[in-house]
Subunit: 276 residues, 2 copies
Amino acid sequence: MAAIASPDDMIRRRIDTGRISLNVREMGSGPLMLFFHGITANSATLAPLAVRFSDRFTTVAVDQRGHGLSDKPDSGYEAADFAEDIASLIRTLDRGAAVLVGHSLGSRNSVTAAALYPELVRSVVAIDFTPYIEKEVFDALEARVNAGDQLFENTESVCEYLAARYPNIPAPAIRIRAESGYHNVEGGLRPLASPSAMAQTAAGLRADLTQAYRDLRRPALLVRGGESKLVSADALAKTSRLRPDLPVVVVPGADHYVNEVSPDITFQAITNFIDA
Amino acid sequence: MAAIASPDDMIRRRIDTGRISLNVREMGSGPLMLFFHGITANSATLAPLAVRFSDRFTTVAVDQRGHGLSDKPDSGYEAADFAEDIASLIRTLDRGAAVLVGHSLGSRNSVTAAALYPELVRSVVAIDFTPYIEKEVFDALEARVNAGDQLFENTESVCEYLAARYPNIPAPAIRIRAESGYHNVEGGLRPLASPSAMAQTAAGLRADLTQAYRDLRRPALLVRGGESKLVSADALAKTSRLRPDLPVVVVPGADHYVNEVSPDITFQAITNFIDA
């Protein structure tokens, strides 16, 4: 495997959509391809993937509301809120309909945006988030998310914490998370993501997603980690029964963090999807 | 479900590629989308699907060698022979790289052509044929194929025979097979497909297909009937381990004859794939 690209290869800028101010990392030219991270993460986690598509797309990795350096309103962390941010961003960028690539929370938001604003979306790559995720899976996720709000001594201790939390993510990708997702506070480092926003976002992930999948009229590729603890084989099977026309890629050996654990297969799967 | 389109909506013509003379059904304009049927069938079985794409593609459904009204040489029924026919046809049509849609034998041939002639192929929809098909499945297929060489009293008796052989294919699609695949001979109707070509083609299907899948560098969508007796769940799983980056659609309730049994889901799945 080639060394992963650095998030710093991308240009950071702030985009005011009129609705919200979002921090993004941008690179390349051509049609729009937007990247939306999972809960507690930020634009840097998808940057290595975005960089690989920047030779033929305008790639924009986004800090979603409540995360990274983007606005963190007190409330408004349901699927429709994130989806409207996506719509307002695509309108502001004004480069036509976008390919949306989302992981986890970003997958939920991308599918919701495509269902609500089909004219703004060319297609969706929905990585490891589907309808029918079990209640106990959300319970575990919510506990994990809320436990992340800690004070850390330094970046090394953040790396240790994240490596224990995400045991299959390779060290370079763990470091990207550590270096991008924390800021200096009195006594050490704390997450950039707002704890209140994370709690609301985690709770909002439980909302029924079947209607958005039913309504979806844009092409979507469903990607699941073969060892994912978030999307069970059963949840994916139910989703395929709901939408048997949607193509599926199951990445062998990958857990929930598919694009960080298996970057080459993820890149190739997306390429196969968008080049057809 | 809408009434299926008639194969007679397409224009029939003969194309001499310099290598072989092929009978095709053609409709529409735009980039090339070629359709390749299963063993013992002909261009008519995929015509209802082709017609639905003809508003934006030049759709060409092909009688493959040994089948329908195309040339039936005495020998040359291996994967490479069919694939070279495909390459020569795309070159003769001279409209750029083609999307290949193949069912069964046509799926094997399309993937082989894409692996051998990537510059001529935009992408492949590979319906219900994969590597790792079990020996006993080929034994049963070969017995079925060779039993098809019968004299029938009339089209109704052909329909009865085909309805028993393909119990899940709806009556209108059975009628298409009956009306397109037989010709008048002394004493009744016989298959247009050459018995010797069918025997050689059936034997050739057993050849190892893993190298073609390994070599494949064009996007491909794998489609399997959820109840297929030809591609087992195990054969598909092994194929996904060989090429984890290739998207998969499993059509619930469909047997091997996916596009005839579930035309709407097949159409939507291909649309999702090529529109991404």
